[in-house]
């Protein structure tokens, strides 16, 4: 059904006079895992912000399971869409557990303590992201990767239908990249969550995501199976870098690597 999912209908947006989104139509369904790629400044984060409801498109509209997003209150929206930002305010003196508990803001009573339902949502979000082991450490004393996992835990505690992530793997080491992406795959399957992640890493996108959308200059220029898109020269040329294709040794997924400018002989670094 067309009205299901989180959808942008010809959405346009400009921060100043230069349009950042040009009549973008895009849909994310429940249980779907989509990577959003594109060069810097192509409008990926803006599309994420428009879909999340914190930015209103100047033209076009956003609908959530058939309802115009503007007609959904902030509180209800926070129970349906969660966002994992790139970073939070740097000077945040709250302990990790308190930050994750803020994920329950849209459920909590203004004065009363969190309910047992809230508590268990917080606990399972912390366990799933592996932040329980440093639950009482202060947020601003954590490493970038630890902070990213805490932000993911906060979003999971919201228990939403849709999860939007802005470059979630960027501060993570290989171990945590692996566990984060496996976790997203599992969440999609277990909870039927629709996942949309801005990804710079095309190889992770093709390895873990079933759909890849490529943006350029405020428009979506390619949208489909990662393997097919990465085989298209026009889609790769957008990134403005010389790229070579290869295959993932285990799954056969298309992978791309940078090509060096010099001839192979000059690259030989043998003594």
């Amino acid at each position: 059904m067309q009205s299901e999912g989180l959808r942008a209908q010809s959405a346009s947006f400009a921060y100043t006079t230069t349009p950042v989104l040009r009549s973008v139509s895009f849909g994310l369904s429940r249980g779907e895992m989509v990577a959003l790629a594109g060069p810097n400044g192509s409008g990926k984060t803006t599309l994420l912000r428009v879909l999340s409801g914190v930015l209103r498109p100047e033209q076009g509209s956003i609908s959530l399971d058939g309802t115009d997003l503007r007609r959904i209150s902030e509180r209800d929206r926070a129970r349906l869409i969660a966002v994992v930002p790139q970073h939070l305010e740097p000077h945040l003196g709250f302990p990790v557990e308190a930050v994750v508990e803020m994920g329950r803001s849209a459920y909590a009573h203004l004065l009363r303590p969190l309910s047992s339902v809230d508590r268990s949502a917080v606990r399972s979000a912390m366990d799933a992201t592996g932040v329980s082991s440093f639950a009482s450490r202060v947020f601003n004393e954590l490493s970038g990767g630890e902070q990213q996992r805490v932000m993911l835990a906060m979003a999971l505690a919201q228990q939403t239908r849709y999860l939007l992530l802005d470059e979630p793997t960027v501060h993570l080491d290989l171990h945590h990249q692996h566990s984060l992406l496996e976790l997203l795959v599992k969440l999609r399957a277990d909870r039927d969550i629709g996942v949309l992640a801005v990804m710079h890493d095309l190889n992770l996108s093709s390895l873990y995501f079933e759909r890849l959308a490529v943006m350029n200059r405020g428009e979506i220029v390619a949208d489909g199976k990662p393997n097919e898109i990465l085989e298209r020269d026009d889609a790769l040329s957008i990134f403005g870098a010389p790229l070579l294709r290869t295959r993932h040794p285990q799954t056969g997924a298309t992978q791309v690597v940078l090509e060096r400018d010099q001839t192979p002989e000059l690259l030989d670094i043998k003594p």
Partner: protein, 355 residues
């Protein structure tokens, strides 16, 4: 107290229930009230002071065993002043807490960002204008102070805000410049009307509480204001994550900010009409409370209100008695006592400053 569980582990002495953790502040405030009422030009013994206050409040019923003169000093002169100063302290500390949270700026307080100076100019205009009426201490003075405070804070905030943030430096510069301008404009107005001396005392925080009737409107407003801040406390925590993330979590950010700024301007203007400009309370008390209680607002709001009241009552006691019969302006004394206390806390605190 779910959220405090995590904070309790971080601030080890904080495993007790909230009311017990606040107990030292509550007792401290009560002691401060008694001390400040006992001492002055005439010293009255503690027992007698307490008896007068409790009898007058209707808590104690017994024979009057004290001279009528003492009763007049305690109940009609000193106690209203102590209560008034306490509410001024609580109002300024709460205003500082609100500004620091919604501007996400550790250096925001009613004095620094010019709100107090705006209220002061409003008061000066009201005093010089021929319009007068007074209902339980509420009149043109209070209205003008509120308008002055609100216009100033909205102006400074608008000036300092660039692309969704209020950078520290811009906010401080805008606040400092506007504050200086408003203070000079106040002096200019006063001088032009040959009332500069009177105004100068007040600029430095001269307490102008002489009777109960002046507190009729201010006290309920501060009490209601404190309750309103407490209701906002969960959202004040969330907005520290940043405005956009707060919106993702379901907070109506613009509405929260507007409510906080109007409330802070209201609290500041009440304080200014009662005691002129008192610096430092709005800055020092919230930071001191954070160092002890952590960043959660449900603990900070009561702590800051009690602490602000106690701090300013003791400051006023010192200001009245140190060089008696000369009275040191409250604002001067607040800075002299507040600065070293703050530096001590800053040094003792092991953590990097975090809001």
């Amino acid at each position: 107290m779910a959220q405090f569980n995590a904070i309790s582990r971080l601030y080890p002495a904080q495993k007790l229930p909230a009311i017990l953790r606040l107990l030292p502040l509550i007792l401290g405030l009560l002691v401060a009230v008694v001390l400040a009422t006992m001492y002055g030009a005439v010293n009255v013994p503690a027992g007698e002071t307490l008896s007068v206050i409790l009898t007058k409040l209707g808590i104690l019923h017994g024979h009057t065993t004290w001279p009528a003169g003492d009763e007049a000093i305690i109940w009609s002169i000193r106690f209203p002043r102590v209560v008034g100063v306490g509410f001024v302290g609580a109002a300024l500390a709460l205003a500082g807490l609100l500004f620091q949270a919604v501007l996400r700026n550790p250096l925001a307080d009613p004095y620094v960002i010019g709100t107090a100076a705006g209220a002061q100019l409003g008061v000066t205009i009201a005093i010089l204008s021929p319009v007068t009426f007074d209902v339980l201490g509420f009149g043109p003075l209070q209205i003008a102070a509120f308008c002055g405070a609100l216009v100033t804070v909205l102006f400074v905030y608008g000036l300092a805000r660039t692309s969704g943030r209020t950078p520290v430096v811009t906010l401080l510069l805008a606040g400092f410049v506007l504050s200086s301008f408003l203070i000079s404009a106040t002096s200019f107005l006063a001088e032009a009307n040959h009332r500069l001396d009177e105004m100068m005392t007040w600029t430095m925080g001269g307490v102008a509480i002489e009777s109960w009737s002046q507190l009729g409107v201010g006290v309920p407003i501060v009490l209601l204001g404190a309750a309103a801040v407490y209701l906002m406390s969960r959202h004040l925590d969330v907005i520290l994550l940043g405005e956009e993330q707060a919106a993702h979590l379901g907070v109506r950010v613009e509405r929260l900010k507007l409510a906080a700024i109007v409330l802070a301007a209201l609290l500041t203007s009440i304080a200014v009409t009662l005691s002129g400009i008192v610096p430092f309370v709005g800055l020092v008390v919230p930071h001191a409370a954070r160092m002890i209680y952590g960043p959660g607002h449900r603990m900070l709001v009561p702590a800051v209100a009690l602490g602000g009241a106690g701090f300013l009552i003791l400051t006023d006691l010192v200001a009245r008695t140190l060089l008696a019969p000369t009275e040191i302006p409250l604002g001067v004394m607040a800075a002299i006592l507040g600065a070293p206390f703050f530096l001590h806390l800053l040094r003792r605190s092991r953590r990097d400053y975090a809001i």
